[in-house]
Amino acid sequence: MAAAATDGGISSQLPLRMECISKCFGKLKALDDISLEVSAGECFGLLGPNGAGKSTLMRVIAGRVRPGSGSAMIAGDSAGSSRARRSLGWIPQELALYGALTCRENLLAFGRYQGLRGSPLQQAADWCLEWAGLTDRGTDRVRNLSGGMKRRLNMAAGLIHRPRLVLMDEPTTGVDPQSRNRIFEMIEQLRRDGTSVVYTTHYMEEAERLCDRIAIVDHGRIIALGTKDELVAQVFEARSEVVARFAGPAAAEFVAAHAGRMAGDAAQFTVAGPSDVSALLEAVSAAGLTLIDLSVHRPNLESVFLHLTGRGLRD
């Protein structure tokens, strides 16, 4: 590890580099041979159903979980080391703030924990308040802020020391659409400044909007990795997705017999071209089902996720 940190190679200085990370909790294999890299200014999405291993992976990066095997390097330093912690910002899902302190006092406290003192600390607090749009609320106590403001301050507190890599664990949970847009703008500003972000979310549209690359995690493994278009291409190639609703006694059997799946009251099929759609319609008719409606569209990230995990993101 020391060699990796000091060999001066470009890859060793990546904001994040993980190789063959595995971790077991008792008999449960929480992480299974995870490898990934995040480049400067990149927003890297981690998607997966509940219990897939996302949080454990984030905690390995933060140095809060020791992997059973493999290595995790933050800007060339071993995860959990003092230097790695200096390069890392942690924005937990919970509002990890001191409620009785003001916004500015919170930022100053977390800044001191990061080793900042004097005017650099004051300047960092000013920058954070401005970045989070809370300059005029600096002297307000945290417990008196709205939910969206608390979320923004929670994010700012993780950036007080201007880290190279920021871990954001569902930062928009419980936030109204207006505040969510404000948070997206904050993240985009960070990326423009060259900060890398590892982002987990339960909202597919957030991942599609923010993330350059996405890893889909299930049962502790990365089951797909790439840009949104790459993932769609990997899973669906050039095929399209047909969503149809039927009425009839044997609809479920029909869907299963034609390699489809039920999503709510609609059935989903993948088709290679128009001839497959015609064949599907004929089969519906032959099965004695009544077609209520049908649409054909290009698969999106949600389609990929459903296809790979068999579950919705918020299941």
Partner: protein
């Protein structure tokens, strides 16, 4: 509908183990403690230690000592405990010093010449008075000893009392006839024979036949010029108990931070767990010391406790106590899983420690076994130290045992807290 509300309340209580413990275990625990302290004693009063310095070395003083040693409620100390291998009997001076140091709450000095006129009947200034050197912080022991002395005189020195009484009557009532004197001499011989047989176990004691008085002169050797002795005691006693509550509450912030993710954030910064715990300990110690300071300043301003001439002792004991209770709170917070659990367990433990450690009533009123058990608490050592400072005016070096125990306890509790806090550190 009312039943549904009752049922919901009961289900909620049943699942909150902390509240359940406070509701049912705490009252039973306290009832048991008080029952042991006040109800479970085999003798009606706790044993009182009394130092006896026999400077008379007469047969009378020997009989008096023997009578005192036979009293089941007294623990008679004739030589310093530390010198049991080379016993050197107490003198008036060493007995007084021992009372000042708190070895015993009272000392009895039998002065030279006491045996010549031990019994005081009538208005006579003959002979030497017994001297009682007492620590006025314990109002019970001297009075009890005084009473027992009279009892011992009645049961052990009956012949001397009779002889002295007859002499008094002879001089005050115009003299006895030769026949009366002869009969009285015969009676005294019988009485002395009876006592000799009694000592050989051949005759039973009959206190009804005895009567008399011993002159006792009592003097405070500790706290003679002080305000009520219990004020400085309670400033320390109550102070320590509330310090324990405050410290466990302050350390509970660790559980809040673990719960809301702040701990994760802090530990992912440049702060490691040891530094974090040291920071929390420092905060708790300063908070506790501030509380103690306020308590003693209040005691000085309202109850005239002499704080300003005891500043060095107060600083040493205050900081040691504050450090120990701070470490206790930290250990409790690291041990417990939730705030509710911390509240229940620490309340139980602190009240238990406070009751047997002397925060609620002085330990010298408790049975010996409970007094010894009290030494397992921080309260007892802290209160003993403050008593040495404010009551006995002892020099700083005499605080070494109390300070040593409190600092050792602080270290052990902190190391325990550090070990328990590993669960938050890494998975």
């Amino acid at each position: 509908m009312i039943f549904s509300i009752v049922r919901t309340g009961w289900m909620a209580l049943r699942r909150d183990r902390g509240a359940l413990a406070l509701s049912f275990v705490l009252p039973i625990a306290f009832f048991s403690i008080f029952a042991v302290i006040f109800g479970g004693q085999k003798q009606s009063t706790p044993k009182i230690s009394v130092i006896v310095a026999d400077e008379d070395h007469s047969s009378v003083s020997a009989r008096l000592l023997k009578g005192l040693q036979a009293e089941s409620s007294l623990n008679v100390l004739l030589t310093p405990l530390a010198k049991k291998n080379q016993p050197v009997p107490y003198t008036a001076a060493t007995a007084e010093a021992a009372v000042r140091e708190g070895v015993a709450p009272v000392a009895l000095v039998v002065p030279k010449g006491f045996g010549e006129h031990p019994i005081n009947i009538g208005d006579t200034s003959e002979g030497q008075q017994l001297r009682l050197l007492k620590d006025s912080s314990d109002p019970v022991a001297p009075q009890m000893l005084n009473g027992l002395l009279q009892k011992v005189a009645m049961t052990s020195l009956t012949d001397l009392m009779a002889e002295q009484g007859m002499k008094y009557w002879d001089s005050e009532a115009g003299g006895f006839t030769a026949q009366q004197k002869e009969r009285m001499e015969a009676g005294l011989r019988d009485l002395r024979d009876y006592r000799a047989r009694q000592e050989r176990g051949e005759a039973k004691t009959s206190a009804e036949n005895d009567a008399g008085l011993i002159r006792v002169q009592a003097r405070d050797v500790v706290g003679a010029n002080k305000q009520s002795p219990l004020i400085s005691f309670y400033a320390a006693a109550i102070g320590v108990m509330f310090l324990l509550f405050t410290s466990s509450g302050a350390a509970g912030s660790l559980l809040d931070e673990a719960e809301n993710g702040t701990l994760d954030r802090v530990l992912s910064s440049q702060v490691d767990m040891t530094t974090l715990l040291l920071g929390k300990l420092t905060y708790s110690t300063l908070l506790a010391f501030s509380q103690l300071t306020l308590m003693f300043v209040w005691a000085w301003s309202v109850f005239h406790v002499d704080l300003w001439s005891h500043i060095p002792g107060f600083l040493v004991m205050g900081l040691s106590t504050a450090l120990a209770v701070g470490a206790f709170g930290l250990m409790m917070a690291s041990f417990c899983r939730t705030r509710a659990q911390l509240g229940a367990v620490s309340t139980l433990l602190i009240l238990l420690m406070s009751s047997i450690g002397g925060s609620m009533f002085p330990r010298y009123l408790m049975p010996e076994a409970v007094q010894k058990a009290g030494l397992l608490t921080l309260n007892a050592w802290a209160i003993d130290g403050f008593t040495k400072v404010f009551w006995r005016d002892e020099p700083l070096v005499h605080l070494a045992p109390q300070v040593g125990v409190l600092l050792a306890a602080a270290l052990i509790l902190f190391l325990l807290a550090r070990r328990l806090a590993r669960r938050w550190e890494f998975a």
